[in-house]
Amino acid sequence: SADEAGDNADSKKDKKGPLTIGLLLPENQTARYERFDKPLMEKKIKELAGEDTKILYSNAKQDANLQQQQVDTMITKNVDALILDAVDAKSVSSSVKKADDRDIPVVAYDRLAEGPIKAYTSVDNPRVGKIQATSLLKELGDKADKGQIVMMNGSVTDPNAKMYKEGAHSVLDGKVKVGKEYDTKEWKPENANENMKGALSSLGKKKIVGVYSANDGMAGGVITALKGAGFAKDEMPPVTGQDAELNAVQRILTGEQFMSVYKPYVPETEAAAKFAVALAKGEKLDDIATSKTDSESEKGVPTIIVKPLPLTQDEVKQYVGKAGFFTAKEICTAKFKDACDKAGIK
């Protein structure tokens, strides 16, 4: 009824019965959210708070306004805690504040949302760019002085893309010449493909020694462009990626793609689940959190930061079959049988 929203905020903490946890994820164009984050999180929450816990999920399709509306809905539903992966970490602050005003604790997930958040867990985003860049530099070795690299950054409308880009630049600048650099519209592989073709025409095939690609999808587009320009499989310049998507893992095994960045979803989702359940139950977070973070508006937010890991051919084997990664069956389809065998994956 109408009054329920306003009145029982205080009584919530000692409310009996199953908890309701809200989960807001930012987009549906990358596989990870609905493949890993959502199921892993649901599993952990139910494990912690009981099977009858209700989890309300919405995906904002990369639209900050839609996400704001979804927060409103969560408030209407009077969830006990909200896990929020912000589309736009900065502008989401008013929504966070609104939730906070209604005594709904917000756990910032993956992106450090501004506003009165109660906990934060994430992969270290600037570090992603650094890992990509460092691996690339290492792979290039002395070729770094002889040629140029092409940088394929993410979409300018995505604040995370900026962090990756800055992280990468902090490593690359001065070490290697960046021949061409692109902000890829909509993170689309097709656009990355088009830009890469432009770079190939403009710089010439011979000059390009490596490609920094911010994620795996774009790496796919870049690699087809490189192949189209006549690079054979074994002379392919190294191409970076991120997200450890299935197809990228397969490409890494065959050697087409140099590396990706693997974000350990299990610790990250579990951290979020723990925070959320504890907050919902009104418990302290001190035992859970491993550090504190200051956001622009909040000081000392209990935090768990999970380190992203580079994923080159050598590392694939160790993740296969683990939670938050793919099974050997998924990776080793008929086409990749040989590559799998060579890497020793069964």
Partner: protein, 423 residues
């Protein structure tokens, strides 16, 4: 002599009577019985105006309510109305453009750009907020007028002009926002209040409903008196009362809903005000008449001495202005301007709102109320889906299906009605 022969101005149904009374005209019986009979006939022939869309809306509400009882809660309904204001305001501008028989693809980008203008001037440059707001809205007007100019004077197809606008203004917005990206607005500023202020005094909502109902009744009576005096057909008293009831019931219901949450939202007042004003402009002023004329036949309108390019430019300016106003509401919702402002499904939502509400894409027909109805339909679907919490794939499919279903009711009822030309 003409008393008792009713006329229906709004939808052009054939019910007046010529001074040389046409004997083939089926005059409705007086009183409620005649009204009921007439309703039955309309039901059969499909001349139902907005009724099917309203029915669609009610069905959507009922279905979601069955799934989750929070849907019809005062809280959710109140949120839903506020959230539909942004889309709806932009859709009002789109309705003008659609009546012209044209399209405006730039509204999303323009709304984003003006939000950026506001944020940069107000937050970064420290300009007075109201001044920045006015400037931001004028930016929209100017962008719209520019589209209108290229279309009306240079002759570039409106689709291409506004597509160029879609790209160009988005680029400009990114440029304006610069490296900072998102700019948060003042939490207590005017813009923030747009979607966050409620007139919590219960008098406000109830009073507005009363004023609206009484004004409707008053103008109807006045009109009827003038018509009688001039000897042209007028509405009988019974009909006026019935119509007033049809207006008053939802008005008071809405007031009750708002009052049982936080009160009358400012956003709703503004949105309603804009719809009423634009409806007035379209139906009661020469300018509106000219817009319809150009939309019906620009050739005929030109021959009647109407300055067709002028009308086109002003209509695009209106669309740009409304896009900017809508942009303020979107900015208010997230209390920020960011790089994705105005992108994504915003454009489609706004055009869809106008079309779902019943405005034709082929020009010459439409009312701004359709923006209100359409925005409510779209927002109800969004809100309902958020309540259900389904996966995004299924969600898209359901959204598509519901959208189609909502309009199928309208189309089927309209199909029985033979309309001249394409509807």
């Amino acid at each position: 002599m003409t008393t008792g022969t009713p006329t229906e101005e709004t939808d052009g149904a054939a019910k007046g009577a010529s001074t040389a009374l046409d004997p083939r005209l089926l005059v409705r019986q007086e009183g409620f019985k005649g009204y009921a009979g007439d309703l039955g006939r309309r039901l059969r022939t499909g001349e139902l105006g907005s009724v099917p869309v309203v029915v669609g809306l009610l069905i959507i509400a009922a279905v979601f309510q069955l799934q989750d009882s929070a849907f019809l809660s005062a809280n959710n309904l109140s949120d839903l109305f506020i959230q539909s204001a942004g889309t709806g305001l932009i859709a009002v501008g789109i309705v003008f453009v659609l009546i012209l028989g044209e399209i405006d693809l730039s509204v999303g980008s323009v709304s984003g750009m003006s939000a950026a203008v506001l944020a940069v001037f107000n937050v970064n440059q420290g300009m007075n907020e109201v001044l920045a707001l006015i400037l931001a809205i004028l930016t929209g007007t100017a962008a719209g007028a520019l589209h209108g100019f290229f279309f009306a004077k240079i002759g570039v197809p409106a689709f291409v002009v506004t597509l160029a606008g879609l790209l160009g203004w988005n680029g400009l917005m990114l440029q304006i926002l610069g490296p900072t990206g998102t700019i948060n607005l003042d939490d207590d500023g005017v813009v923030a209040q747009l979607t966050n202020h409620y007139f919590s005094d219960k008098i406000a909502a109830t009073g507005l409903a009363t004023v609206c109902s009484l004004a409707f009744l008053g103008f109807s009576l006045l009109d009827a008196r003038r018509r009688k005096a001039a000897g042209v057909p007028s509405r009988p008293l019974s009909e006026i009362i019935l119509r007033t009831v049809v207006v008053a019931v939802p008005a008071f219901a809405a007031a009750a809903v708002f009052n049982s949450y936080k009160g009358l939202p400012l956003a709703v007042v503004i949105f309603l005000g804009v719809v009423l004003l634009s409806d007035f402009v379209l139906r009661r002023t020469t300018y509106g008449r000219k817009v319809f004329a150009v939309g019906g036949s620009s050739e005929a309108a030109g021959r009647a001495g109407i300055n067709v390019p002028m009308i086109r430019i002003t209509v695009y300016a209106i669309a740009g202005t409304m896009a900017a106003v809508g942009g303020m509401f979107f900015a208010s919702q997230i209390n920020a301007a960011n790089q994705s402002s105005g992108a994504g499904s915003l454009l489609m939502n706004c055009i869809a709102a106008a079309v779902i509400g019943g405005t034709s894409l082929f020009g010459g027909r439409g009312k701004t109320w359709s923006a209100l109805l359409g925005a409510l339909v779209i927002q109800s679907i969004n809100s309902g889906m958020a309540l259900l919490g389904t996966g995004s794939a299924v969600r898209d499919m359901i959204t598509g299906a519901v959208l189609l279903a909502a309009v199928v009711i309208d189309s089927v009822s309209r199909r029985t009605q033979k309309t001249a030309g394409r509807a």
